[in-house]
């Protein structure tokens, strides 16, 4: 009964706009006082600090800092120009450019909203100019930006890895494969739509133009090389690759583009610290909550319930997808991870599901949550950065939600898609 009341309290706090750390924290503190009154207060402080005091997590502020340094300048434009020079002349070229640019930008930034904001402004006017329908263009931009959460470096996968103790390198490799599958599926849809519409095709660029585009974007492409090459070459860990990315980004901005003065560096560092802080306070409070969930033996009870109902892995994964789909409509990605993963992961492992495979299912669900009405964050970012009514964005995103759900089913029931690259790279 009290558990139910705490759940209702959390839902009330969430719905009425309380800060997310209050939504997680207030019920946790009340639960601690009521259910675990014998638990010393020091545990609360230790869990808060312990939730963020780990070397693996250092990768997140470093990746955020590197992306802030690189993404503030003209990188998004250079990357789009490069992709356009390569594939822009084909049928549906600008649509394909949108998907591939989001994937390329995602290999620098791990944030889907940042990808919508940075690339949306560049590709949206061009999509309209070439004859794509407004709704389709908005849906395509919002959906393509999801790939940033899957393609390394992915903050979502790092947090999942930290919460569950799964190898970040293996998750990154799996994320790369799933991100490519999702991107290619979007491209097939773009091709299908383009073949049935009056889309203007642009002339094929000369090789000189392509080389010029490559030279302009080449430095940005060095970052994914450091990250993926470093990790899978066995040279560095994910955290070390992140720190190396910061140094690389600084060197490029200071000595190649010469756009980074001390004042700007301080502004970028401050912004990165705040972005880190707002994510990490959820990790800190979420660490307390997941500790209490474990103490209350919630995963054990779920497992016992599933066993008594004779639920196997196939049905369990379907339930997981439904739970995340509903949660994704209302709750932000990190809170979903911190509440649902500690509860469901032990059950998944007990049912013999591979931790990397489960991580990719979770991550793809979180991607879908970012674009699903009523509270999909990316819908609001697209609406505010492109100055379009939210209802127009929502109308355009439905076909992409349907495609996502089809890909989700594929990823869920064909584990090899998520596991082939981790096996190849990590052995």
């Amino acid at each position: 009964m009290i558990t139910l009341l705490l759940g209702i309290l959390a839902a009330f706090l969430l719905a009425f706009g309380f800060e997310m750390f209050l939504v997680l924290g207030i019920p946790s503190l009340i639960a601690k006082e009521i259910f675990f009154a014998n638990l010393p207060d020091v545990v609360v402080v230790q869990k808060l600090v312990g939730g963020v005091n780990h070397t693996t997590l250092l990768a997140i502020p470093f990746f955020i800092f590197a992306a802030e340094i690189m993404a503030r300048g003209s990188i998004a434009r250079h990357l789009t120009d490069l992709v356009k020079a390569m594939i822009g002349h084909r049928l549906g070229g600008m649509g394909h450019t949108t998907v591939a640019s989001c994937m390329a930008f995602g290999s620098i930034s791990g944030s889907a909203p940042a990808t919508v904001a940075a690339l949306g402004r560049i590709v949206y006017p061009e999509l309209g100019r070439l004859g794509y329908r407004d709704r389709f263009s908005l849906g395509l931009i919002v959906a393509s930006a999801e790939t940033a959460l899957l393609i390394p470096p992915s903050i979502t996968l790092i947090i999942y890895g930290w919460v569950t103790g799964t190898s970040i390198g293996a998750l990154f490799a799996g994320g790369l494969a799933v991100g490519i599958v999702l991107g290619v599926t979007f491209m097939i849809y773009v091709h299908w739509i383009s073949a049935r519409s009056a889309i203007v095709r642009t002339p094929r660029p000369s090789w000189a133009e392509r080389m010029a585009a490559f030279r302009a974007a080449g430095w940005a492409l060095g970052l994914p090389v450091i990250i993926l090459g470093g990790i899978y070459g066995g040279v560095v860990t994910a955290t070390e690759a992140a720190a190396a990315s910061v140094l690389y980004a600084l060197l490029v901005e200071c000595f190649v583009y010469r756009e980074m003065g001390m004042r700007r560096l301080a502004a970028v560092a401050e912004e990165s610290a705040i972005t880190t802080g707002v994510v990490f306070i959820l990790l800190a409070v979420g660490s307390l909550l997941s500790y209490l969930i474990t103490l209350a033996r919630v995963p054990d009870e779920i497992l016992a319930l599933l066993r008594s109902a004779d639920v196997g892995p196939i049905l369990f994964l379907l339930i997981v997808n439904v739970v995340f789909f509903v949660a994704g409509m209302f709750v932000d990605p990190n809170s979903q991870l911190l509440v649902l993963v500690p509860t469901l992961f032990p059950v998944a492992v007990a049912l013999g599901i591979d931790p990397v495979h489960f991580g990719l299912i979770v991550c793809l669900n979180i991607c879908i949550g970012m674009i699903t009405p009523p509270f999909g964050l990316d819908l609001f970012v697209a609406s505010s950065t492109l100055g379009k009514p939210i209802l127009t964005v929502v109308a355009g995103v439905w076909p992409f939600v349907a495609i996502n759900l089809a890909v989700l089913m594929l990823i869920t029931y064909v584990p090899d898609i998520s596991l082939v690259l981790p096996r190849l790279f990590m052995g």
């Binding site: 706090l13 719905a15 009425f16 706009g17 309380f18 800060e19 997310m20 209050l22 924290g25 207030i26 503190l29 207060d41 020091v42 609360v44 402080v45 230790q46 808060l48 600090v49 963020v52 005091n53 070397t55 997590l57 250092l58 502020p61 470093f62 800092f65 944030s111 889907a112 909203p113 040279v235 560095v236 955290t239 070390e240 720190a243 190396a244 910061v246 301080a266 560092a269 401050e270 610290a273 705040i274 972005t275 880190t276 802080g277 707002v278 994510v279 990490f280 306070i281 800190a284 209302f330 709750v331 932000d332 990605p333 990190n334 809170s335 009523p374 509270f375 964050l377 609001f380 505010s384």
Partner: protein, 171 residues
């Protein structure tokens, strides 16, 4: 007078956050270079791993108040922005009051734990600094957060307006 004090607090928070972020990245990057290029010196710099983690803990809790004031803390505001303005003002007060009590509660727990750990004289394994230096950021950070909630409760700051401008950020 109050605005000067607040300006001083903000400036101090910003300077410390920037310094920590740069130091974290610089030290850890240097450590990676040493481990790969001059590995026989790696043991000399083993303390860097611990130092950067402690700095990260400081960044997280020190920026609590500043992020709140700038409307950057994550909240689902769709319902909030759609209710009538009169009701919304009361809801803002309720959120600020709940946030103030929560932050003050954790600041109090953090203070007691920091005093306790300082009394034990415990030091960190490689850096050998008092471990209380890490935990002191809990009362400090949540204290600064409680202050921000209080300022907003009395209408001295307008964080909800800042949050509306930042819609969609912080994730």
């Amino acid at each position: 007078m109050l605005s000067r004090v607040l300006g001083g607090i903000r400036a101090a928070e910003r300077v410390v956050l920037v310094a920590l972020m740069l130091a974290m990245s610089g030290l850890y990057g240097f450590n990676v270079a040493i481990r790969n290029l001059a590995s026989h010196y790696a043991a000399t710099f083993a303390w860097i791993d611990e130092a950067t983690r402690f700095m990260m803990v400081w960044v997280v809790f020190l920026c609590l108040g500043l992020a709140l004031e700038r409307g950057r803390q994550i909240a689902m505001t769709t319902v909030f922005t759609r209710i009538r303005e009169r009701s919304r003002i009361w809801l803002q007060r309720l959120i600020n009051l709940a946030g103030f009590v929560f932050a003050l509660w954790l600041a109090r727990l953090g203070y007691h734990y920091t005093v306790f750990i300082a009394d034990t004289g415990q030091t960190s394994p490689t850096l050998e600094v008092p471990i209380a230096m890490v935990y002191v950021v809990i009362p400090l950070g949540f204290g600064l957060l409680a202050l921000r909630y209080l300022l907003d409760l009395f209408g001295i700051t307008a964080r909800f307006a800042a949050a509306a401008r930042h819609e969609g950020h912080g994730a």
